[in-house]
Subunit: 302 residues, 2 copies
């Protein structure tokens, strides 16, 4: 079995994949806080999948933050500032391990779920906003790994301040953390509350919602006008809102196309899709990353 | 010899390239208006290069407009609405011919001039604004050829109307045609006049120049944050202004980096370079496209 893990801020999802890339087992655990708890949680999830599905040949870990040769930095949601995850897992996981950024892993998983046809951008609408770009089955990282960082493109010089220091960034308008901040009312899923309030006629909520929808539409437009991916797959926490977010984004793109022959020719609205609810794209992608970097088993014939 | 042609709105530049990709001859002619004149001009340039440099093995044509299987559409600067250029050239040019969009050809040429190392975006600042993206020596076209169309990304919802129908597009702020239009005083090179007037303290000119510089900086930022190319090479008519445009663009990127740790880590200002003045990047790239699509000569040994 090849194992893939999606280590999120609150939960860790693990899958075991057979030789035909089919998911044959899943586990879901709470993610602990800080480096030690995250490492222990990964080891426990791998052990649970091994108990259920048999010997583990490789492990891939999708995790937030910047990843460089198995080292995780700036995974603030997990309480990790700097951790050599590959070294830390070497003593507690027997199989070969690979580590990938969670959004990039999800992009690979989304591509596999689509049958690896053509190209896609996976646009993650979570605490922050970032994309992973895949074409011909390969992740396009760029020279220094910054490919897909569309969250920090400004689309309005008069827009709200972004935590990155610029104004009017896509993430400042559509990121879950920025929206919750500007909404200002605590709750388990503040963006859902905000959308509910907008539906109920609250003008502040309606204005935040409009800004978020426009920013997601701009992110999709930017991705197509730079990389011309066949589809933009929306995923991440905000897509728990389903068509309540995807529908208005398509309408916004459609209304831009009505004003512009050039945009109409690109059929942006038709290229935006939602990752199916509950789809374990990041865990699946992580399993593929782990499998690809593990040494091939030696098969002896005859 | 492999021939490459850059068919521009006013002049056509032709180069002949030897087997080591060195340019051994150049011709420069006025481009005629309309399909017949353009076809005749191409044939004459090929003949002139053959006279000078010897038998022509392949011809590549870089030309504005949308290119699909040798068909050129929307090359409005040339007076061409729809022309099957490949078919038209078959009867007047003896060698195999390939046709490519001029910006994409220039991107390939700029990449060859840089020694085909890593990745680049060639950002053309001409009548319009568009980029060609090359990595690992290959043009990245995307699924439908729209990769690099950064001119029609809006960076300001309150910005000027673009000919594409949107507001605040990069091209509406930094395209030569849009700038000349908003400057409103005819001249041979209106954007130079505008920059001169800005230097002399004209507030309207200064405001147009500021908008143009910011838009070019945003185009570079968008290209790096989506594709993470190693360098953004500025070319096209506006770069006749040399450091008068490139300098302020780097300053703008540097000032954005001062406000944002994230942007600073990307070193955007250091990634922006100018195509050397007089560099025949588009003609060279067209020659490479022609050579690549021509059948290999059969070499018999012994």
């Amino acid at each position: 079995m090849r194992v893939g893990l999606d280590v999120g801020g609150t939960k860790t999802l693990g899958v075991a994949m057979d030789d035909d890339d089919r998911i044959v087992a899943q586990v879901r655990t709470r993610t602990g806080w800080g480096a030690d708890a995250v490492v222990a949680g990964i080891a426990a999830a791998v052990a649970a999948l091994q108990d259920e599905a048999g010997p583990v040949r490789s492990v891939g870990v999708g995790i937030p933050g910047q990843i460089d040769a198995g080292r995780v930095t700036h995974a603030l949601n997990l309480g990790i500032d700097d951790l050599d995850l590959l070294a830390a897992l070497a003593s507690v996981v027997a199989a070969p391990v690979a580590v990938e950024n969670d959004v990039k892993a999800a992009a690979l998983g989304a591509d596999a779920l689509r049958g690896r046809a053509g190209s896609l951008a996976y646009l993650n609408l979570g605490t922050g906003v970032a994309a992973g770009i895949v074409s011909d089955g390969r992740l396009r990282r760029g020279g220094r790994g910054a490919a897909g960082e569309v969250g920090h493109i400004s689309i309005d010089p008069a827009g709200p301040e972004c935590r990155c220091g610029q104004r009017g960034c896509i993430e400042a308008l559509a990121g879950g953390a920025a929206l919750a901040d500007r909404w200002g009312r605590p709750g388990e899923f503040p963006v859902r509350d905000l959308f509910d309030a907008a539906d109920a006629g609250d003008p502040h909520a309606a204005s935040l919602r409009t800004g978020a929808v426009r920013a997601v539409a701009s992110a999709a437009q930017v991705l197509v006008l730079t990389t011309d991916v066949d589809v933009v797959v929306l995923g991440g926490g905000l897509t728990g809102l389903g068509e309540r977010i995807a529908g208005p984004v398509r309408e916004e793109l459609n209304s831009r196309a009505c004003a512009s022959d050039f945009l109409r020719s690109l059929r942006l609205d038709e290229r935006v899709t939602l990752l199916p609810a509950g789809s374990p794209a990041a865990a699946l992608g992580a399993a593929l990353v782990g499998a690809a970097s593990a040494p091939e088993e030696v098969h002896t014939h005859g």
